[in-house]
Point group: C2
Chain length 213, copies 2
């Protein structure tokens, strides 16, 4: 398999973790987002959404969107499971993953911040305030979910990592770039630290990627 | 079942469509987002994420996040299927749903626009430009996906509605509120029109909700 990735992309990071947890090898293809390589026609032929990551299977077929890719990997390579088997547990894991992927990350990714700077003429102080606002809102929700769990485990859901952890960890890395007040989220950070003990998460982090700058 | 909903919430609209497609009756509980009812402590006890929709099962257990809810409904009430059975098709439907739910909607929902107005002091012209920018970016990706399909069907994927259509239709309704240039997205709009022929979509639209203003 080939993974179109960028070291700092949180969405690519999620899939790198999932592949590592499954023990699946992949060949990285680097797409430099700040240089706009994802907007070039050649990449549009790979992924019509023009986004990273893309997973290319050995037969050449391609998948887009990180959570869809992780669900696919989980269906085709069921062990270890990244989505639990019981229906309510599945819904909870997806809900936590989507809390990160739909409520936090989209507001703070590169293109949103660039629009604030370029089109709306916001200075770095204002961009930083925007960033921290959505991080604080989103992490408060995450902390409420995780600390309110009836039967809390070592990870987001239970005692083994799931798709929710694949999403949480990259978001924490991302947040740390903008004066993240980690002390306000003790349960979330406990889960984060637990994940980072695992080689699958550690190896997937931005600074350990071949394209890291 | 009870559905915590707001007539204009695109995320609640997605779940209303799914429930209608499945033929599942629900009792609506109205949460007035502009009045901030979702931020009240009483609603926090219902949904720690403080977001709409929440689906409450007859046994009192609750689910959050629209796509997680739709997947749950599809697992517990498999007919008609809103996620296809074949792995690549499942991935494609999820990818299209996530393209709407992760790339378009979060940047343009009520709280993002409110932050632009209040904290960043942007006027309505600038807020409108922001809105249309993300709509144009996102719908171009959607159109590329849908028009590039090898075997295009009547809906986003194939000849029956899926979770992708549950997400697409509310996003089109949302976009139409801000000078949406529908002619640029002929395939997307063909799918939209096809969906709107179905009672399940029509009945779920904002203006037909009991809490519509």
């Amino acid at each position: 398999m080939k993974l179109y990735t960028y070291f700092r992309s949180s969405a690519a990071f999620r899939v790198r973790v999932a592949l590592n947890l499954k023990g699946l090898a992949y060949e990285p293809r680097f797409v430099h987002l700040p240089k706009g390589e994802h907007r070039e026609a050649s990449y549009g032929a790979v992924n019509p959404q023009g986004l990273v990551p893309t997973l290319e299977l050995d037969d050449g077929r391609r998948l887009a969107q990180s959570m869809a890719i992780i669900e696919y990997l989980d269906e085709r390579h069921p062990r270890p499971a990244l989505i639990p088997s019981e229906a309510m547990a599945r819904a909870r894991v997806r809900s936590l993953a989507q809390l990160v992927a739909c409520e936090i990350h989209p507001l703070n990714n590169l293109r949103a911040l660039q629009y604030l700077r370029k089109q709306l003429g916001q200075n770095e102080e204002q961009v930083g305030a925007w960033y921290r606002h959505w991080i604080a809102e989103g992490f408060a929700k995450l902390e409420a979910e995780l600390s309110g769990a009836k039967d809390p485990g070592r990870f987001c859901h239970g005692d083994s990592p799931t798709m929710a952890d694949c999403c949480l960890v990259p978001q924490v890395f991302n947040a740390k770039r903008y004066e993240f007040d980690a002390q306000r989220y003790p349960t979330t950070m406990r889960v984060f630290e637990e994940c980072m003990k695992l080689d699958a998460f550690d190896r997937a982090q931005p600074s350990k990627q071949p394209d890291a700058e």
